[in-house]
């Protein structure tokens, strides 16, 4: 069968071993890139001609916002795979992702509000990006709430997977409806993200941060994945090997 390699790849012991071995390969580059990005963004990049040094929040806000979407998408894809092929490891990926995504969504909200404060003169504006981010946080909370409502891990996996898939269909609809709604009521936002005219000295640190955050997510995911795989495991033989310190 063509599927055997796929199943072996997704077999819990294999995943556990690979995840353990791979973690440092993601964690260290993530650390290096994030530190480099911090230096680049806080020190090397020049101040903006309009926003002065206030724009430097972009180096944490944009990667956080990026994470919130990336993690949700990953979660939904993994959940869909788990649902269709009844693959425990895929459900474990989804379960491991949710808290990471939720926490970065929270960070994106707070940094967005802090960035907006000097620009708008208020900590909260119903800006479409922030509003979408807030709704995304609710989606994450709903997902985690549903998951924790079930004692049986397997049912929790499968029920929450349906919600993740439904949610990912809705995310673009929600985003566009919020943008549409906002265009009726408010002047366009002051914030800019990925503005094409950004000079390289500003843009490169942002890129470095984006890559660093993504690798950081990968490393976190691998660690959490090991935990989630263990708690879904019943065949004891390999667990005893794996858990041995």
């Amino acid at each position: 069968m063509a599927w055997t390699w796929f199943h072996r790849l997704a077999s819990p012991p294999h995943v556990y071993r690979v995840a353990r071995r791979l973690t440092p390969w993601l964690a260290w580059p993530a650390a290096v890139l994030i530190i480099a990005g911090l230096i680049g963004g806080l020190v090397l990049a020049p101040p903006d001609y309009q926003q002065g040094d206030g724009y430097r929040i972009i180096y944490v806000h944009a990667p956080s916002a990026w994470m919130s979407l990336l993690v949700y998408a990953t979660m939904a894809v993994a959940a869909g795979i788990g649902l269709i092929w009844r693959m425990k490891v895929a459900h474990a990926v989804a379960a491991a992702s949710a808290p990471i995504g939720a926490s970065f969504t929270f960070a994106a909200l707070v940094t967005g509000s802090l960035w907006g404060a000097p620009m708008w003169g208020t900590y909260w504006q119903w800006d479409p990006r922030l509003t979408s981010e807030l709704i995304l946080l609710f989606l994450y909370l709903g997902y985690m709430g549903l998951r924790s409502a079930f004692d049986d891990l397997q049912r929790a996996d499968r029920v929450s997977a349906v919600l993740a898939v439904v949610g990912v269909v809705n995310v673009p609809i929600i985003h566009y409806s919020v943008v549409w709604w906002n265009s009726l009521h408010q002047p366009p936002s002051l914030m800019y993200l990925g503005k094409p005219t950004m000079p390289p000295s500003m843009f490169v640190p942002l890129l470095v941060m984006l890559v660093g955050f993504t690798l950081f997510y990968g490393a976190l995911l691998l660690v959490r994945l090991r935990g989630e795989v263990l708690s879904r495991e019943r065949a004891a033989s390999w667990v005893r090997e794996a858990v041995r310190p």
Binding site: R86, D151, D152, L153, Q154, R234
Partner: protein, 218 residues
């Protein structure tokens, strides 16, 4: 092809091969094997918690076994689940009746989702379970035993070759228990297949109809 084959009565056979199922950490079904063919009734006995209900729910395709497979007429039931479901009648712990509707209305809606019923058939089935007098009373006013009888009428009305029954005699008096035995007898003598989870053995009389299997804590 497959469909044509299913129609042949002698081929009717529900088979479980090495069925494994977990509920959380609890390994409920540990490699269960069973086989029931046409003209047979397999009675599952066993203490509470040994997985009788779980096995029935797995056999009808509600629960998904993590190991092994269930076949009907030689075909995995998952291959065409709705075709398989069209051939089975399942009776769970609770009679699936609505308190606000009469017994007759309940059957019309319950069985009517599967097949068209005519009045005479419905009357006959209700009479068979002794429901003539209370068929038009709201189920709310019926006793537990009467509800069970109404559910039995629904079971016969489905005309399904495969019966899966979970404690069919619950709440029934001695006469009612005899009725269950008689209905199963008729069913298997007509070439049907029955799988029942029971506490007390059913009074099924047909000679080859009765087989027992005991589930125990592994």
């Amino acid at each position: 092809m497959a469909r044509a084959k299913k129609g042949v009565m002698s081929d009717l056979c529900l088979k479980g091969e090495n069925v494994h199922l977990w509920r959380g950490d609890h390994h409920v079904l540990r490699g269960v094997r069973f086989q029931v063919g046409a003209g047979e009734c397999l009675q599952l006995t066993g203490a509470n918690g040994t997985g009788k209900t779980t096995l029935l729910r797995t056999a009808c395709g509600l629960a998904y076994p993590e190991g092994g497979e269930i076949t009907w007429c030689g075909q995995n039931i998952r291959a065409d689940l709705s075709a398989f479901h069209a051939q089975l009648a399942y009776l769970g712990h609770e009679p699936p009746l609505k308190a606000e509707l009469t017994a007759r209305e309940n059957l019309e809606y319950w069985v009517g989702v599967r097949r068209r019923l005519d009045r005479h058939e419905l009357d006959a089935a209700l009479a068979r379970v002794g429901a003539d007098h209370w068929a038009d009373r709201p189920v709310r006013t019926l006793s537990a035993g009467q509800k069970r009888r109404a559910a039995l009428a629904g079971l016969t009305l489905m005309r399904a070759p495969l019966w899966l029954l979970d404690e069919p005699t619950t709440n029934l008096d001695a006469e009612g228990q005899k009725l269950v035995g008689a209905l199963i007898d008729e069913h298997v003598q007509a070439g049907g297949v029955a799988l029942a989870a029971v506490h007390h053995e059913l009074a099924v009389s047909a000679g080859r109809a009765l087989r027992r299997m005991e589930l125990t804590f592994a």
